[in-house]
Symmetry: C2
Subunit: 437 residues, 2 copies
């Protein structure tokens, strides 16, 4: 863990090192992924089944690629009523928030008589990748699938690997609750290839979303352009801005909730109170002795953790903007007064009783958020990822007479004669038919 104070000489260079030291070291998977994608594209189900047998040790045929409705119902029946209720609380709140994102179409007629605007239209089909094994998070199924359903995507296919045939029943229950229409027991680059190019069994989709390992991320990169993808997720991070009004143990747990994800995760405390920082650091050390995922959390905190001491809370927000965190907690008495100064953060959690972990599950806003400082230019997953806009332009003879000549002038200036003639031929025809024009 790095402890820095903005009053110290050398703060700037140490802070800049924090900004860059986690840039991803890409694993060299380009060629194997390209080979897998090519074979799925060429051989379809045959390749998909062979690769699944090879990587997941699961014999599978085109007929057993999809989970049946009965399998999904049986999995759901294994989940406790308490958990199903929690899943439902989460799903309802996520649905409600994303419904409020739904945009309106735009249409207006201007002074020149042109009618113009844009229509929002959902994608036809989306594909959702869900990692298998320990990283199979039912909450992520909800967060990826529900925005697609709310956007109006009619077909929502999901791929989840089942190594040795093992599947987390809560993942299937979450998929059913979220409205996923097809679930396939395939994973890795081969699943991405199947959703991008289609096979005899799996029809292609228009956009693929969801987290995955290095192979999945590289496969998404390679199919990008043929289909849409969401952002390539890097390791998760949180910045907690706190003062001494919070319990140090609670703040320590907020930091560790990030650190327990992944050794590359980054948890940063920013506080103007150096004594409070000491107490939080001590609480982190104490909690690390008892937490179940202590190995991961300890490594993350040791390598990537940071505690920054600032002159005041406003300087804390300035540093947070430079870090452009995925998650930003404002654990202070008046979080709104700080939040107005926030320019770069994926999601903000305001107030002492609103930790990120609430938002990870049941808050409503999406938990798929821009990592690796990309909150400078990127946003969390939303219904906009599952819709696109068609702009339109409409105008009659009068409007063309008013604005057409400017188009003709610019087209000639750019040396695009057919562009110019496409407009001027219409203007000529109008002139012929209206002698007084």
């Amino acid at each position: 863990m790095k402890r820095l104070n903005t009053r110290d000489a050398g703060f700037e260079s140490a802070f800049n090192a924090l900004l860059t030291n986690r840039e991803e070291q890409g694993q060299e998977v380009t060629t194997p992924v390209a080979n897998i994608l090519a074979s799925v594209r060429k051989e379809g189900d045959t390749a998909l089944c062979a690769l699944t047998e090879r990587f997941d040790r699961l014999p599978v045929t085109p007929a057993t690629l999809a989970f049946t409705a009965q399998e999904i119902a049986e999995a759901t029946a294994q989940v406790s009523p308490e958990l199903l209720e929690a899943l439902d609380v989460a799903a309802r709140r996520i649905e409600s928030f994303h419904q409020k994102q739904l945009p309106s179409d735009m249409r207006y007629t201007d002074a020149e008589g042109m009618t113009l605007g844009m229509r929002w239209i959902p994608l036809d089909a989306a594909g959702l990748y869900v990692p298998g094994g320990k990283a199979a998070y039912p909450s992520s199924v909800l967060m990826n699938a529900i925005p697609a359903k709310v956007a109006g995507v009619s077909r929502l296919a999901m791929c989840v690997p089942t190594p040795d045939g093992v599947i987390n029943p809560l993942v299937l229950a979450a998929a059913a609750r979220a409205g996923v229409t097809e679930i396939y027991r395939v994973g890795g680059a081969q699943a991405v290839g199947a959703m991008a190019y289609g096979t005899q069994t799996i029809r292609p989709v228009d956009r693929i979303v969801g987290p995955g390992n290095a192979y999945v991320a590289e496969a998404k990169r390679q199919v990008f352009g043929h289909v849409g993808i969401d952002s390539i997720a890097g390791p998760s991070d949180v910045v907690v801005i706190a003062d001494s009004g919070s319990d140090p143990r609670v703040i320590a747990l907020d930091l560790l909730a990030q650190a327990e994800h992944d050794e590359l995760a980054q948890a940063t405390l920013i506080t103007p109170d150096s004594a409070f920082a000491d107490k939080v650091i001590a609480a982190v050390d104490a909690e690390l002795k008892v937490l179940s995922r202590t190995a991961i959390a300890s490594a993350s905190w040791a390598r990537n953790g940071a505690v920054l001491i600032t002159r005041d809370l406003l300087e804390a927000v300035e540093l947070a903007n430079r870090l452009a965190p995925e998650h930003l907690e404002l654990m202070v008495d008046d979080p709104e007064a700080l939040f107005v100064h926030v320019r770069h953060a994926g999601a903000a959690f305001l107030g002492r009783f609103c930790p990120e972990a609430v938002g990870d599950y049941v808050g409503g806003p999406n938990h798929v958020l821009p990592t690796s400082r990309t909150a400078r230019f990127a946003s969390g997953l939303s219904i906009y990822d599952f819709m696109k806009r068609t702009t339109f332009l409409s105008g009659g003879p009068d409007a063309l007479r008013r604005i057409g000549p400017s188009a003709v002038a610019l087209a000639h200036a750019e040396g695009l004669q057919a562009h110019a003639f496409s407009v001027s031929a219409r203007l000529d025809a109008l002139a012929e038919h209206t002698p007084n024009a």
Copy 2:
């Protein structure tokens, strides 16, 4: 040019070939681009100047990288008043349309007492790549720069190569009109590297937009993640749906306005009227004899042009949806009746007096549009490319009591103990302080 009729046997397979035959054959520039980016990242201005001298035969120093205000004013003075007026008509209409795209922030408090929503925030800095030489289109400068300014981006840097020192004055005039704050005479992958990583002279930006050659496209691909990029543009295309109510020559010019861009461009006519199709084809052949860019347009029409004869206009729209064109013209009496059935198109042009060429310059909607059938999932450039969203969640003790337990249950189910404790520690503290809770 391929002529197909939906009534013919074999239509489906011939049509499917149309859908796939233009998939990009990537030029092998990965390694040279990676080398250029690495040297700009490491050596900054030194590499940038050396590469500019090498590729553009232009001796340049850090002090002369940027165009001066005087150079820009002198260039603008070279442009005719008529053209400056046309540029201004275009700029005003583009500004007006993109202002109407500006979204509203969202904020609400729900039944559980949580306050949540999202704020739209502009990027700090955007970079605009503009190709040099013949492909230097002032209209594209307006279309890329104005949405950034309207979105509220305060810093807008532009890079344009000036091979042998040559610059199109209209490009500089357009940049000045659009509010570009810095213009650099650099191009290629080195310009993308400079904007992504920064040099001593060029500060880094958050997102890079604008068209370019294979090197520029590959450079954008490689810096993606470190900064945002717009989509990688493929060859341009149009689908014109027309009936015999239009002049065949006018429709031919609309097709050729697409074909004259690039030999890879694709122009497609879809009509239910076979005799009208014959007349359009004859008019295309006649115009190709006289147009200035006949070599390019002829090659495009011969290789990629298509004429599809359908049973009726509704079937024409169905085929257009499958083609998911960048541009869609509806040259019929009642275009709105067809437009409601359009699901996949970057931009639509409605009615006989509203050709694409009007929209390319002065319509108002953006002319940077999804190519290569990506209108299935992608949209044209917009102010959304220059803004991002921060979601927020806020709640007090009562709200946490209501929804917190569901978060705890799901966190434990996912094996994320610190997530659970981050919430349950707060719930425990509340229970201690409110004995009746």
